[in-house]
């Protein structure tokens, strides 16, 4: 039990996927201008990653590893994730329209998101067992969501401020992200 909690804390704070591992920066910058969007994106990533983590892990365990096909892991994973996102989109549209309305526009963006693919690859690289994989597939996106929401809060204030013209928008957002990353170094060594 304790190990899993440590794994989760590690994934959320210490090795925060965005701020320490640099995965998923495009949606991080793209969906953080407004708090509502940030919350939507955060939820979508948690949702998709939990499923993608499981599915890709099973693919690895059932097909790739036994057949010695690890070298085409990249191609299999991306196809699996793309198909999964499509499927989830169709499923939500039909069956849970409320959730679809909330997450809908974010789902296609997620297909080409380093964070999803990255965590699936980390799960394999770290040789996690099923439970560890599951914890990691929830905790990493939770860390993504935490960083995204904090960032959106900061950005909402910065955008209405008096940022000098050349630094506006992405430039200042990157510097702010750097400051967040610096602050998160404080968690270093805690697990």
């Amino acid at each position: 039990m304790g190990d899993y909690i440590l794994l989760a804390i590690g994934a959320i704070l210490v090795n925060n996927i965005l701020l320490i591992q640099y995965l998923g920066n495009c949606p991080f910058l793209g969906t953080s201008k407004k708090m509502d969007t940030a919350v939507g994106m955060a939820m979508a990533v948690v949702f998709v990653l939990a499923m993608a983590g499981i599915v890709t892990w099973i693919f690895e365990a059932v097909f790739l590893k036994p057949l010695g096909l690890e070298y085409i892991r990249t191609i299999v994973f991306i196809v699996v994730i793309a198909a999964l996102v499509q499927f989830v989109e169709i499923f939500l549209k039909k069956n849970i329209p409320a959730l679809y309305a909330g997450l809908g526009i974010f789902l296609p963006l997620i297909t080409t998101n380093c964070a999803v693919m990255g965590v699936c690859l980390i799960n394999i690289k770290e040789e996690y067992n099923f439970l560890e994989m599951f914890v990691s597939s929830l905790a990493y996106p939770a860390g993504f969501g935490l960083a995204l929401i904090l960032f959106a809060g900061l950005r909402e204030r910065i955008i209405i401020g008096r940022v000098p013209a050349p630094m506006q928008d992405v430039a200042i957002a990157l510097v702010t992200a750097g400051f967040m990353s610096l602050s998160f170094l404080g968690f270093k060594g805690m697990i």
Binding site: I160, G161, R162
Partner: protein, 421 residues
């Protein structure tokens, strides 16, 4: 100017002056200027021409079919009718009357207390009461509050009235009951005027002397236990506020048969000395300042109203209106200055705001001209316009001005939207 105290961690309390001085009567001025609201239909002031003679107490109309009127406060000849616009963009006709000789009273005023009478004769009474909410079929007004406390610091005009004209107020209360049929008439006064207020026959409520407890919204909340929703007026909640001076003027009118055409004004000089004077409505500021021995120089400020909520004006030639309770003159050294520094998030405004508005955030949105967000996320419409946030702002941001501008701009877009529908 009240400076921050040494013990800066205590939230500052701004106290009203509560000892109204004696009143100095001013002679009838040689001319008066009355501001007559332009009729809704935009017609010219066709009924009034230079050269017309008017009598004291006479109702002056812009045009024969207009409902807007002013009451002439003197007898004399109209010398000028000029267009005029106030700082809120409302248009008026400025009617200047040269006084000549004795007062010649117009006796059109009949003594029957009825809503019709009130609408016809009291809309320009000193203290500027309004009876229109009673005539509005969409509003049910149950309560009238006679405010015996002045709404700005330093000013003691209404307190003077409670102290010295309680009998007139008593008559006013009776008349108001008849005119409006309100169930409840309340008078609010500071502790030291309780004795006088008790004789007026209205239900007594004692107010604290801390600003802004005398503002209608605060009285509603603290005294009547009713909260006015954001953007609404007390009338929407069924309460009409009338200044003590107006109540007294109404009472006196029914008692004497003559409309009151004088106004009590608290004049505050540069040295902070205050004088109360009584003068005709429409008296130019210049005459009043001269009578009070207040000199005014280049770059001084001349403020109609009090230091927190008044309106600085550009000319001594402007005149007092029925709602002018105070005149404040500030010299340059004592004037507060605004800067273009941004909010540094010190939170002084948040702590001082009587209605708990997150002013630190509000001001950022206003500065960025995001008025709709300011209203929906940061409670702009809750502001009761007390001015305390600007008073305390360490960055000296004109917050109060931003808020008023924001409300104004928002109302423009709202009316534009309503028009498009």
């Amino acid at each position: 100017m009240i400076k921050r105290s040494f013990l800066g961690f205590v939230t500052p309390k701004l106290k009203h002056n509560i000892v109204p001085g004696p009143v100095q009567e001013l002679p009838v001025p040689s001319k008066v200027t009355l501001l007559l609201k332009e009729p809704q239909n935009g017609g010219n002031a066709s009924s009034l021409k230079a050269g017309d003679t008017v009598r004291t107490g006479q109702r002056l109309f812009a045009s024969p079919d207009s409902a807007e009127y002013v009451i002439s406060s003197v007898t004399g000849t109209i010398s000028d009718v000029a267009p005029y616009m106030d700082s809120y963009g409302r248009k008026y006709a400025a009617v200047t009357i040269e006084t000549g000789g004795q007062d010649d009273w117009e006796d059109e005023f009949n003594k029957e207390p009825s809503l019709d009478t009130a609408l016809k004769f009291f809309e320009y009474a000193p203290g500027n009461p309004s009876f229109r909410p009673f005539a509005d079929p969409e509003k049910t007004i149950r309560t009238i509050v006679i405010n015996g406390m002045d709404q700005d610091l330093l000013i003691t005009a209404n307190q003077y009235v409670v102290q010295n004209e309680a009998a007139d107020i008593k008559e006013g209360v009776k008349a108001l009951e008849k005119i409006t049929g309100a169930d409840r008439i309340v008078i609010t006064v500071p502790e030291n005027l309780v004795q006088q207020a008790n004789t007026t026959g209205a239900e007594l409520k004692t107010l604290s002397t801390t600003y802004p407890d005398s503002l209608p919204h605060m009285i509603m909340k603290n005294m009547l236990g009713q909260v006015v929703s954001a953007g609404d007026t007390p009338e929407d909640t069924g309460v009409v506020f009338i200044n003590a001076e107006a109540a007294s003027a109404i009472g006196a009118a029914f008692e004497t048969g003559r409309l009151r055409v004088t106004k009590i004004v608290t004049v505050v000089g540069k040295d902070g000395n205050t004088t109360n004077i009584r003068t005709r409505i429409g008296t130019p500021l210049r005459d009043i300042l001269q009578a009070c021995n207040v000199s005014i120089n280049e770059r001084d400020r001349l403020i109609l109203g009090g230091p927190m909520r008044g309106t600085a004006t550009y000319s001594e030639d402007l005149a007092i209106g029925p709602d002018t309770d105070g005149i404040v003159v500030q010299d340059e050294a004592n004037s507060s200055q605004v800067t273009d520094y941004p909010c540094i998030n010190c939170g002084e405004c948040v702590r001082i705001c009587p209605v708990k508005i997150p002013v630190n955030m509000l001001v950022r949105f206003l500065e960025a001209r995001l008025y709709e967000d300011a209203a929906s996320m940061y409670d702009m419409e809750c502001c009761i316009e007390c001015g305390l946030c600007s008073y305390a702002c360490i960055s000296r941001i004109p917050i109060f001005q931003y808020i008023k501008l924001g409300k104004y701009e928002l109302s423009l877009t709202e009316t534009a939207e309503a028009a498009n529908e």
